[in-house]
């Protein structure tokens, strides 16, 4: 096995993990605090990508577009919370799932109407479009490094927000006892709306970061949402720390599995058998991991202490 390739693939896996964390953190935040299962979280990821793509064409600059698109996506999430999600809080989880499934159809088809069936490619500024040699012989695209830096910064910011700010304190308090928080005079409705908007912004940010690599497209939300669910199941639903660790594990396993599993299989079986079975197994690897975790810890790796 070639160490340069291994390093590059680890970097790719780490990058995928960080993107997954951005999506999964919103999902787990909304579930942990609002006790709401949001199947339509992937649609927010898609909306973020599309808004950013359109704005890139208007402003002519991807980074400016991203900065403007973030609050718009958050606002979009806030409006969805106000109009639809709020009336579902008192229902059971199955209703959440079915209601947000309807929401997916509405949002995705509206995006289809508005932006057309084809995807929207997002051009990068020239200085981001190149490659850089970080060690001798190890060349990586600059943009991937940007994704990793932004992902790490946001993850750190989120930990700071949840653990060291007043809002974070309210969020944690709301997660463990929402009646108590509202009894103390906190506007719980507003808090819920803000949390939902924050989740939308995080998912949207992930969509924006992905769009220059794989363009904004209608189906992108549906693809990532299941993996994000797998991430929060493995990490423990409602746990931010669990979401982060599980996202990195899933990102690494998925990427490394796809690139090296056939080589590993060749050690124990014939070349032909290895080449035939490796793609199938690597496609299932993440789910097998989930099954294993659940078989031993049905609550996930880091179940939140108070629920």
């Amino acid at each position: 096995m070639d160490t340069t390739l291994l390093f590059i693939q680890m970097l790719n896996g780490f990058q995928l993990g960080l993107l997954l964390f951005l999506v999964a953190s919103g999902l787990t935040l909304v579930f942990g605090i609002l006790d709401f299962v949001n199947l339509a979280h992937g649609s927010l990821y898609m909306i973020g990508a599309f808004i950013c793509a359109s704005l890139t064409y208007i402003f002519g600059n991807f980074l400016v577009a991203m900065v403007v698109a973030l609050p718009i996506t958050a606002l979009f999430g806030y409006l969805i919370e106000r109009t639809v999600v709020r009336s579902l809080y008192e229902r059971d989880h199955l209703d959440h799932v079915l209601g947000t499934f309807g929401l997916i159809l509405i949002v995705d088809t509206s995006a289809h109407l508005f932006w057309g069936p084809a995807g929207l490619a997002v051009p990068l500024p020239v200085w981001l479009d190149g490659q850089v040699e970080i060690f001798t012989g190890v060349v990586v695209p600059i943009y991937r490094l940007l994704i990793i830096s932004i992902g790490m910064l946001v993850a750190a910011g989120l930990f700071w927000l949840v653990n060291y700010t007043r809002l974070g304190m309210l969020i944690r308090a709301g997660a463990s006892n929402r009646t108590m928080v509202s009894a103390l005079g906190i506007d719980i409705q507003l808090l819920f709306g803000l949390v939902f908007a924050l989740g939308a912004a995080l998912a949207g940010l992930a969509g924006m970061l992905v769009s220059p690599i794989s363009e904004a497209s209608i189906g992108m939300g549906g693809e990532i949402i299941i993996t994000a669910f797998v991430v929060i199941i493995i990490g423990g639903i409602g746990s931010m720390k669990g979401a982060f660790i599980a996202a990195i594990i899933v990102g690494l396993i998925d990427t490394l599995g796809r690139s090296f599993l056939d080589d590993i299989f060749k050690l124990v079986m014939s070349t032909e058998a290895a080449e035939n079975s490796a793609p199938a197994v690597s496609a299932m690897l993440v789910y097998i991991l989930m099954a294993l975790v659940l078989a031993f810890k049905p609550e996930g790796l880091f179940p939140p202490k108070v629920r």
């Binding site: 009336s87 008192e90 799932v97 079915l98 209601g99 299941i226 793609p279 690597s282 299932m284 989930m290």
Partner: protein, 330 residues
């Protein structure tokens, strides 16, 4: 023999209509409606199987489309090898063998995933069934030999005794008969002692456990029965469409199946059949005047979740003489 209840009359009416109308359309030269009806009946079988879990067992499986896919590929793969060679042990056109494979593999998949899924409940259960279905989806996408993403055309339908599946009417008769059988099985299961334990565990698991029942074993059995039944529906679907692809087991398909059950009315044998009928009708009507038919469909789904909790059957059989139930109770 006691008189039929309101629900019994509706069941009878729907089933008689399904028996008479489609052959009439065919005879009248409207083969298109016959096709719609066949699809309806097959989806209804899948819905009936899901209802056993969702309506009676309180297990909201969000991955039932996987069983449809497994069943369909259990027809497609042996037929493919019989046509193009390779993998001789599995190659066959025999319908009995296809159905055996579809039911057997679905049951096996249900058993293996059920052991893990049923360790969890509620929202975890929803997500995990969904994730396992997605795993099967990606598995079939990665099978390049069977067309991968592009799907697989079934050149020759299953060869069955008594039924020639190339004949639309005979195809329909088989599907209709299977639906009746599926409904009878679910009815029988839910009225047996087994079904009582299952429904009891749905309402209050601790109480049933305290009575000495291993509810896990009961639930797992129900999960396997339901999966096998849905796999059978998949074998019919493969034979009906003669084109199968991983797309048919995407998680949105599972969502549609669940929607059918809720729409028709969960926990009643006829509910999923009515749900499938409405689904097919809505799809047909909306998609005839706009390619964006998912938009009104989504609005309808959201509206039903928000405002019509009991499904169509509950709406039809509601006793209006009584005072309205307190809505806030849910």
């Amino acid at each position: 023999m006691k008189a039929l209840s309101k629900r019994g009359w509706i069941t009878l009416l729907v089933m008689v209509a399904l028996a008479i109308l489609p052959p009439f359309f065919l005879w009248n030269g409207q083969a298109f409606y016959m096709d719609l009806a066949t699809r309806l009946v097959i989806l209804a079988i899948a819905g009936v199987s899901l209802n056993l879990l969702l309506g009676y067992g309180g297990m909201p499986s969000f991955g039932h489309a996987a069983f449809l896919g497994i069943g369909a590929y259990a027809v497609g793969i042996p037929a493919y090898h019989n046509t193009y060679g390779g993998f001789e042990i599995a190659a066959s056109y025999s319908g009995v063998y296809h159905i055996f494979l579809a039911v057997g593999l679905s049951a096996l998949f249900a058993l293996l995933t059920g052991i893990i899924c049923l360790r969890t409940k509620g929202v975890y259960f929803i997500m995990i069934t969904m994730a396992f279905a997605q795993m099967i989806f990606y598995l079939f996408v990665s099978f390049e030999i069977y067309g991968g993403d592009d799907g697989l055309t079934i050149d020759t339908r299953s060869e069955l005794p008594l039924f020639n599946l190339d004949e639309p009417l005979q195809m329909y008769m088989l599907c209709y008969g299977s639906l009746v059988a599926a409904m009878l099985i679910v009815r029988m299961v839910t009225r047996s002692q087994f079904g009582m334990v299952l429904q009891g565990a749905k309402d209050n698991n601790e109480r049933v456990v305290t009575l000495g029942y291993s509810t896990f074993a009961y639930r797992l059995t129900a999960y396997v029965i339901s999966g096998a039944m849905c796999g059978y529906a998949g074998a019919l679907l493969g034979n009906f469409t003669t084109f199968i692809s991983p797309e048919m087991m995407e998680w949105t398909r599972s969502g549609e199946l669940m929607f059918m059950v809720i729409l028709g009315g969960a926990g009643a044998t006829i509910g999923p059949v009515m749900g499938a009928a409405i689904f097919i009708l809505v799809e047909e009507v909306f998609s005839s005047f706009t390619t964006y038919w998912h938009l009104p469909f989504g609005i309808m789904l959201l509206g039903i979740v928000l405002f019509m909790r009991t499904g169509l059957l509950g709406f039809l059989t509601a006793d209006r003489s009584k005072t309205k139930l307190k809505k806030e109770e849910r």
